[in-house]
């Protein structure tokens, strides 16, 4: 054993200089990219890489949900809110050297909409209805002008052009590589794919012809490390410069390490417990009971003790990442068991009630620490007389059961784009009743009217007013126990500066630098 150890050390020492040059950022992801066909990307880890390669007409201001021009320099929306005319940025080239122009936009979009399009066959997942569904037709006005006509007005349309499915890919590459285009990406982004060694690493190189400011960092290397402990180890040894999803129990050790910096990024994440608002036994149909349950749960305790301060207490579906779209002036439910008991008494349940079944997943994307959190919530509720039994389930089965009339169930939501529609409409509009994501069957006609209405107009101020009112009503109705908005937990070497986390879970490394 001794000699084994010695030889292990000899091998290690002979090679312990991890090449972490200042012109390369090495990122440790949880999994490797699946495909670089932008229309086919459905997971966070792939899009964290692909967002360096592809751009959309509209982009997010780095680190926020605010829209700003990207491949389109400007756009106009017609009076009837059906025609979007985009003026494209001149002189932009795809990585394969061909020009970016109006034809390319048309080709990229029509490929997904038109079943007879020559490049339609290369799609495995076809349609992308929620993103491109509202589009009626796409017209090339001139080389740098494209007009998109919608079937009906769509409030979130502009925000959706930020999404991966609506990023522009080179038509030449699509024609050349056909079904294999996912391995030979050609976008307009600041980095190009240099080498993709499946399972080992994905290397990006800076795009020398990038239309914007050329990044300082020459190469980005993404390596997949599945095990959280191994990711942290790779970070502390300098093997990687940056990683995501640090486990809660490792936060303390990271904070103590001077070579590693922890960055908590605001996100649009929301974590809640859906209550079945149509159910009279247990009496979740009673708004007083639902409000009582919100008072009964110690959300601050959950954030502080379980989540180690990596989240903020929630008072509604939208987080601070939504900026002015978040209504902070709503009814709040601070931890107050006395008030909870009073409300329960007022509702005619002074002695509380039992027979409630609380569904908890064993784990799940964005679910934080579901069992610990569920157990604490169960104990908080029991303290005011509400006795729930916890039923745990594997994540796959849980997702199915969640959408089929649960009594009371945990859920979290990571919105991929910055429009409130994707949260409020999907989770709380009665048009998404079970089987659907509005699992608590919440129905408030005024909320329905506001949320559906905001989908059909594109005036930002009018939409904002509607969403603010909806949030007030939702807070009052308490269809969920509002719990927290989790932060993205990113750890990186202290030398890395100017690195940004985006609320949509992107890791923005384009403008990062190394400083000693």
């Amino acid at each position: 054993m001794g000699s084994l150890l010695a030889s292990a050390m000899a091998i290690g020492l002979a090679h312990s200089a991890y090449a972490s040059d200042d012109d390369t950022i090495v990122v440790g992801l949880q999994a490797e990219p699946v495909t670089f066909d932008p229309t086919q990307i459905s997971d966070l880890n792939t899009s964290r890489v692909a967002r360096r390669l592809y751009e959309g007409l509209v982009g997010l201001k780095y680190g926020t949900y605010d829209l700003e021009p990207r491949l389109a320099e400007s756009w106009e929306i017609s009076e009837d809110e059906l025609e979007y005319t985009f003026k494209l940025r001149p002189g932009v080239k795809f990585h394969d050297g061909t020009d970016f122009n109006a034809e390319a936009v048309k080709y990229s979009f029509e490929r997904q909409i038109d079943e007879n399009h020559p490049a339609h066959g290369s799609l495995t997942y076809r349609g992308a209805p929620s993103y491109l569904g509202p589009i009626d037709k796409i017209e090339v006005i001139d080389d740098l002008t494209v007009k998109i006509t919608l079937k009906n007005p769509s409030g979130p349309f502009l925000a959706r052009t930020v999404g991966m499915t609506m990023r522009i890919i080179s038509p030449t590459a699509l024609k050349k590589y056909g079904d294999d285009v996912g391995q030979y990406p050609s976008g307009t982004g600041p980095y190009m794919l240099e080498e993709w060694e499946p399972g080992i690493r994905t290397t990006l190189a800076v795009n020398p012809d990038y239309w914007g400011a050329t990044p300082e960092i020459e190469n980005l290397i993404y390596i997949p490390i599945v095990e959280p402990a191994a990711r942290l180890s790779a970070l502390t040894t300098g093997e990687i410069d940056l990683t995501v999803d640090v486990p809660f129990d490792s936060l303390e050790s990271i904070k103590e390490n001077p070579d590693v910096e922890l960055q908590l990024g605001d996100s649009a994440h929301v974590w809640f417990v859906a209550l079945n608002t149509q159910l009279s036994d247990p009496p979740f149909d009673n708004v007083l009971v639902r409000q009582a349950m919100n008072y009964a749960v110690d959300k601050e305790g959950i954030v502080k003790d379980i989540l180690q301060g990596t989240a903020s207490v929630s008072s509604g579906p939208l987080s601070a990442a939504y900026g002015a779209l978040q209504n902070t002036d709503v009814k709040k439910y601070p931890y107050d068991p006395e008030k909870a008991r009073a409300l329960l008494a007022e509702a005619g349940h002074a002695d509380g009630f039992g027979n409630c079944e609380f569904m908890v997943p064993e784990s799940g994307s964005g679910m934080q620490a579901p069992i610990e959190m569920g157990t604490l919530i169960q104990a908080n509720l029991a303290a005011v007389g509400i006795n729930c039994s916890i039923q745990t389930m594997e994540w796959g089965a849980y997702l199915k059961a969640y959408r089929e009339h649960p009594q009371m169930a945990q859920m979290s939501w990571n919105p991929p784009i910055g429009d409130p529609d994707i949260v409020l409409n999907n989770l709380l509009n009665s048009s998404n009743f079970p089987p659907g994501w509005n699992a608590g069957s919440y129905k408030n006609e005024r909320v329905d009217e506001l949320v559906s209405g905001a989908q059909k107009i594109s005036d930002p101020d009018a939409r904002r007013e509607m969403y603010l009112e909806a949030q007030t009503l939702i807070a009052e109705d308490a269809p969920w126990i509002f719990v927290n908005h989790g932060s993205q937990i990113v750890a990186h070497t202290a030398k890395l500066k100017n690195f940004l986390v985006s609320p949509d879970f992107d890791l923005i490394v384009e403008y990062a630098t190394f400083e000693e």
Partner: protein
């Protein structure tokens, strides 16, 4: 020997046929229509109908099997639904990595397991023997993920002498890099096998050493080294090879967890992701490849057997 080889090769044909039927049936035995499974719960009926005719699901099963097996024989394993790439080159790439990991684990298990087993038998009932068997027992009862994570914490994070994950560093990738990255996963994966081999080798050697022919060898003037490494080991090898054959199977299967702990880009990791994503062509291809390698490993073990034990060869 040649007859034996031909006979054993011929025996693999029905086995391979059976495996192919099972793998083919996987998609068809799963509850629900394969097209539904592939498209997921949000599929439209039109899409299901289209995919059904694409896949030939409207034809009789035997015809479907024939077409599928014909393509497999030509090396066409279909396209991965998730990766949208031909399955065969992808699974071969991953299988190569799994094979490297398994081979590393095997080398570790053979050198340490068999070596310690023999020494424990030679130094029977000494402190070496009892210590070795205690360590082996501990090795047996240690779950792979525990050994793996403990290894990462100690050697990668604490002492910083070995890399924590992957096959190559972020940059570079020569043979030496591969070796460094292989050390921990291979030991983690091979530890249980080494422990089993040590125990089995020891008991096989102890049994052989009691035999009359060992006394004959000593009476001939053969040295103790010759007695142990030639006369006894060759006989104990019959038991050891059986255990080893089973261990290769175990290592191939056990590599799934090790690959996950050390982010080793092998077939196991790929299969887990393919199963989660219902990527049936990849799952079928991977299962077929693993099953075939099992068949050929068994064949190899049987041939080694026959080579070691003439009683099998000549009967």
């Amino acid at each position: 020997m040649r007859n034996y080889l031909l006979k054993r090769l011929a025996q693999t044909i029905p086995v391979l046929f059976g495996i192919s039927v099972l793998v083919f049936s996987m998609l068809h035995l799963a509850p629900g229509d394969p097209a539904d499974l592939l498209l997921g719960p949000d599929a439209t009926p039109e899409a299901v109908a289209e995919l059904r005719s694409d896949m030939g699901l409207d034809r009789p099963l035997v015809v479907q099997y024939g077409a599928w097996a014909g393509r497999i024989l030509q090396g066409d394993f279909g396209r991965s639904v998730v990766l949208n790439r031909a399955v065969l080159p992808e699974i071969l790439k991953r299988f190569k990595n799994t094979a490297i990991l398994t081979a590393g684990a095997l080398v570790f298990a053979v050198i340490f397991g068999i070596g310690i087993g023999i020494l424990a038998a030679v130094f029977h009932q000494t402190a070496f023997d009892s210590t070795a068997m205690l360590v082996a027992l501990a090795g047996l009862s240690m779950p792979t993920f525990f050994t793996g994570i403990a290894g990462i914490l100690i050697f990668a994070m604490g002492m910083q002498v070995l890399p924590s994950s992957g096959m190559y560093p972020a940059r570079g990738g020569d043979f030496f890099d591969l070796l460094r990255h292989l050390v921990m996963p291979a030991i983690t994966l091979g530890a249980v096998s080494a422990a089993i081999l040590a125990r089995m080798t020891r008991s096989a050697m102890l049994e052989v050493i009691q035999q009359d022919f060992i006394r004959t060898a000593r009476a001939k003037g053969v040295s103790e080294r010759g007695v142990v490494w030639v006369h006894a080991l060759r006989n104990a090898a019959i038991t050891i090879v059986t255990v080893l054959g089973m261990q290769i199977g175990y290592l191939l299967g056990g590599s799934v967890i090790t690959e996950a702990v050390f982010s080793w880009p092998g077939l196991g990791q790929m299969m887990v992701r393919a199963i989660q994503a219902r990527d049936y062509p990849t799952v079928q291809g991977g299962v077929l490849l693993i099953a075939m390698s099992f068949v050929f490993i068994n064949l190899a073990v049987d041939l080694i057997y026959a080579w070691i034990d003439p009683r099998i060869r000549y009967s």
